[in-house]
């Protein structure tokens, strides 16, 4: 066997050990991994002619990394019980509860209650990952709410608003990550996949509301099939078709289509019908229209404006409003704003 191969086997073993020991304080984890590493090198030094089989025997006699990690948890009075559905539910309630229902920390509280009942976390882990974050966040929210009343209308208000939502969502998400990391390998990979999927399904639409949007618009035929679009600068009628999108180019995209019948009479643009605004929601985002109007400008152009918002289906607090407008000039040019 080559020395490189042997080193790879040992490095792989140590790496597995280190990740199994994730629940231990980092100082203890480093000490333990170093001791095992020294053990292996001492054992190798005693081999006359190192073979694959002999190296594997050394590791075999050491035991599986999870066996050593379990022993370490026991020796350091950390819980060894295997987490189950209760712990998974607790992680989800704490991790995504505030996004799904952001008004009162009800789901979060239930999650903390489950952690309190669970034997899978140690008392210190429960303090750090469940009780302390809840107390800190509630404290910040109360202070921000009180101060917000004083600061209303002030620029400070916006900062407090961010603190309010930031702590209400970031703190529990961080707490859930911490609690999850303490479970580590004790939770089966399939459970981790499930948790990750749920988290993605909840957080992705929330993020999508902030993703860039896009607008487009064109003047086309308006009438029976075969009718032609008006030619710019000449009298004639057609339809303006505009679309404002949220979260462009993602599967979560939602859009606000607007259509207006427009006529050119030579020196100005006039409205014939509309505007029609009918929001198109997607699987993740709900689009709503707040206003949809057409205004004639003194210079003869037509201003079409739509204000709408997209809200994440899984995260009602994540609602993002945007305004879009199009200006059609008498010579048939379209300018977009927003």
């Amino acid at each position: 066997m080559t020395a490189v191969h042997a080193d790879q086997i040992i490095a792989g073993y140590l790496k597995r050990l280190e990740s199994e020991l994730a629940a231990l304080p980092s100082e203890r984890r480093k000490e333990l991994t170093a001791q095992i590493e020294e053990h292996i090198s001492s054992a190798r030094a005693e081999l006359v002619d190192e073979t694959d089989a002999e190296l594997l025997t050394i590791l075999d006699r050491l035991g599986e990394p999870d066996e050593i990690a379990n022993e370490a948890r026991t020796r350091f009075n950390l819980p060894t019980s295997a987490p189950g559905p209760l712990e998974i539910l607790a992680l989800l309630l704490i991790g995504v509860g505030q996004v799904i229902f952001p008004f009162l920390p009800v789901l979060w509280l239930i999650g903390v209650g489950l952690v309190w009942r669970s034997p899978a976390w140690s008392a210190a882990e429960k303090r750090r990952g469940a009780y302390l974050p809840l107390v800190v966040a509630i404290g910040i929210i109360v202070v921000a709410a009180l101060a917000g009343g004083v600061a209303r209308g002030h620029v400070l208000f916006f900062g407090l608003f961010l603190a309010f939502y930031g702590t209400g969502i970031l703190i529990p998400a961080g707490a859930a990550v911490y609690l999850g990391s303490r479970l580590g390998r004790r939770l089966r990979p399939l459970a981790w996949v499930g948790i990750a999927l749920v988290a993605l399904m909840v957080y992705l639409p929330a993020v999508a509301t902030f993703l860039p949007g896009r607008t487009s618009g064109f003047i086309g035929a308006d009438g029976p099939p075969g009718s032609v679009a008006p030619i710019a600068g000449r009298p004639g009628c057609g339809g303006f078709y505009g679309t404002a999108e949220f979260a462009t180019a993602t599967p979560l995209t939602a859009s606000l289509p607007v259509s207006v019948g427009v006529c050119f009479d030579g020196n100005r643009v006039t409205k014939r019908w509309g505007p029609d605004c009918s929001p198109e929601s997607s699987a993740g985002l709900i689009a709503t229209v707040q206003s949809c109007q057409v205004v004639s400008e003194p210079d003869g152009s037509l201003m079409i404006s739509v204000v709408g918002s997209a809200a994440a289906l899984t995260a009602p607090a994540f609602r993002h409003s945007r305004g879009y407008s199009w200006r059609i000039t008498p010579d048939g040019k379209i300018m977009q704003f927003g």
Binding site: H39, S42, G63, P65, E71, R75
Partner: protein, 115 residues
């Protein structure tokens, strides 16, 4: 009657409870480095199943102040981490020794003759 697998668990429990004192006893005779200590324990039949599980125990003993570590140059290879028993460790070992003797003779007496 206790099923066989529960008796295996019982042996594991007894081993777990006494292992730290076996480690202390080995270190009371002289200082040893990790691999050496593990080998000495493994030579005694039935004391250690997975050698790696000794190290969490050593870490724990060091944290509790029953043993201390120091580095010594080795004639072959890199320096070695040696373990040495502390006065607190010796006191704990003496306490266990006398408890164990009393317990062992009590059990032996009942098992071997009854009264």
């Amino acid at each position: 009657m206790v099923p066989a697998e529960d008796r295996t668990g019982l042996v594991a429990q007894m081993r777990r409870g006494s292992l730290e004192y076996c480690v202390l006893a080995l270190l009371a005779t002289r200082q040893r480095y990790g691999f050496e200590l593990v080998q000495n324990l493994a030579e005694v039949d039935g004391m250690v199943t997975s050698e790696g599980t000794i190290y969490p125990l050593l870490t724990r003993l060091r944290k509790d102040g029953a043993v201390e570590t120091f580095w010594l140059e080795s004639t072959s290879g890199p320096p070695r981490r040696y373990y040495r028993i502390t006065p607190a460790g010796l006191t704990a070992l003496e306490g266990f020794r006398s408890e164990w003797k009393r317990f062992r003779s009590a059990v032996d007496q009942l098992l071997e003759g009854g009264t």
